[in-house]
Symmetry: C2
Subunit: 168 residues, 2 copies
DNA sequence: TATTGTTATACTCTATAACTATA
DNA sequence: TATAGTTATAGAGTATAACAATA
């Protein structure tokens, strides 16, 4: 509870037309500027990073959600469809079309699990493994550009550590 | 260019069914785990923060975009509609419905600018100013909860400083 | 009866093109 | 001719309910 609210000094009323500065009659806020707000900055930074991702991966026709699914299957193949979806925060209903796309492109596949025939275990195809390999190289370029912006790997670790604290 | 790629040791092939651990035949990636990727962490943190925002502001029926518009008009009233939209990264076409909603609720208003009668200057109504006042109190609760999670105001400043570097 | 994957559907955000009125 | 605001529309992303197959 260490937040301070910013009280702005009141200025004179400005005449009609478009007021470029501050009009005291409309200044009742005790809010800091948007750029000092965590949620706002976080959103803008995330959009900037995704924009870079989209540019880098457009040639592979790969979106962030597809990237994360392939990365997760590569990390621990054979997991249930619903497990992968939940891990990524994607509703299982919405995961279906995503997985359909990867399967149609021949990158990943569903296999009927023998233990529980309701569930599908997810795997990469041989082509999917080659795809992930190329993906990794591109990801390196993307990530090192971000690290460069941040000012080095130590700064990246500091950022990840701070972001970790934002959960629950 | 200080990124290091992680080469994983290969393990033995596992039998059919659902593989819970790592299957070397499917492990061609040189990717770190998702939780070490900046973009992924950034997105998850942003979603967590927005979730808290939505909970806190549900009683005011206020979404993040509406919050930022009201905050910006309060900060510098009288600016052109397209200026506010661009500042927030919202396409001017999409801004129309947003502003319609705020106007319908009696919180903000468009005024024909005398200098250039094509443009609208944006202002808060008296009720809008009262609304922003209540909004500010709620925002304080939200923000201080985030700061508490981060570990204090110094940590917040560190985070904002790092996020600032992510732009171009 | 509960769970996994699926379909259908709706709502929000975002992006683009084209229109209007003014400049 | 160009710009501000607007409309219409289409595409993602996300949320919920209901169903079939299986447990």
């Amino acid at each position: 509870m260490t937040t301070r609210t910013v009280i702005r000094p009141l200025a004179g009323k400005s005449p009609g037309g478009i007021d470029r500065k501050r009009a005291s009659t409309e200044q009742s806020a005790t809010l800091p500027p948007l750029d000092k707000m965590i949620g706002y900055k976080l959103r803008r930074a995330q959009l900037a990073v995704f924009q870079d991702f989209l540019t880098v991966f457009s040639k592979m026709r790969l979106r962030p959600a597809e990237f994360s699914v392939l990365a997760l299957i590569a990390e621990t193949p054979g997991r249930k469809q619903s497990e992968i979806a939940e891990r990524l925060g994607i509703k299982r209903a919405n995961f279906v079309a995503l997985m359909d796309g990867l399967e149609r492109r021949g990158l990943a596949e569903r296999r009927k699990a023998e233990s529980d025939r309701r569930s599908h275990s997810l795997h990469l195809t041989p082509e999917g493994r080659r795809f992930v390999h190329k993906m990794s190289a591109l990801w390196g370029k993307h990530e090192s550009r971000l690290i460069e912006r941040l000012g080095g790997p130590e700064e990246k670790d500091r950022l990840l550590e701070l972001l970790d604290r934002m959960f629950d």
